[in-house]
Assembly symmetry: C2
Homo-oligomer: 90 residues x 2
């Protein structure tokens, strides 16, 4: 998958990510992946739900993966949960 | 699925939910569902990851569903995202 079809959800308003996803589908993408880590995971789910329920009702959730990533800080390592939501358009 | 195999994740420490899930598997459950809404969604993912990476390494993520639920408040209705994580043990 092309890197431009991946949306990393962070702390911005959800609509930013929703519009990014809608734009990619409208530009011809057949699949968009929404990724997030830690507390932003809830916002990634919000993003996916708003895209498919409010904007592009033919978009489906094709797959959802969860994983644990290890993040290195200055003194330590910590584990953080991550999610990938695969949206596809017929 | 029996209702006792469903764990609702809220605002308590994640270990509460992890231990609830581990206990259910150890009591013979072959499937446990972890559910959460809104901001607790990130904690549901944390719970699933800790269960299968730290405690019961044979447990797998069988399915993940996301949806939007409508919650009625006194004057209004609001939409809230929800997640269901299906964990299974062979």
């Amino acid at each position: 998958m092309a890197e431009e079809n991946v949306i990393y959800v962070g702390n911005k308003p959800i609509m930013n990510y929703v519009l990014a996803a809608v734009t990619q589908f409208n530009n011809g993408a057949s699949e968009v992946v929404i990724k997030a880590r830690g507390r932003a995971i809830s916002r990634a789910v919000d993003t996916a739900e708003v895209v498919r329920k409010k904007f592009l009702t033919d978009v489906e959730v094709k797959d959802i993966k969860i994983d644990t990533e290890t993040v290195k800080t200055e003194q330590d390592e910590m584990n953080i949960s991550a999610i990938e939501i695969y949206l596809s358009k017929p």
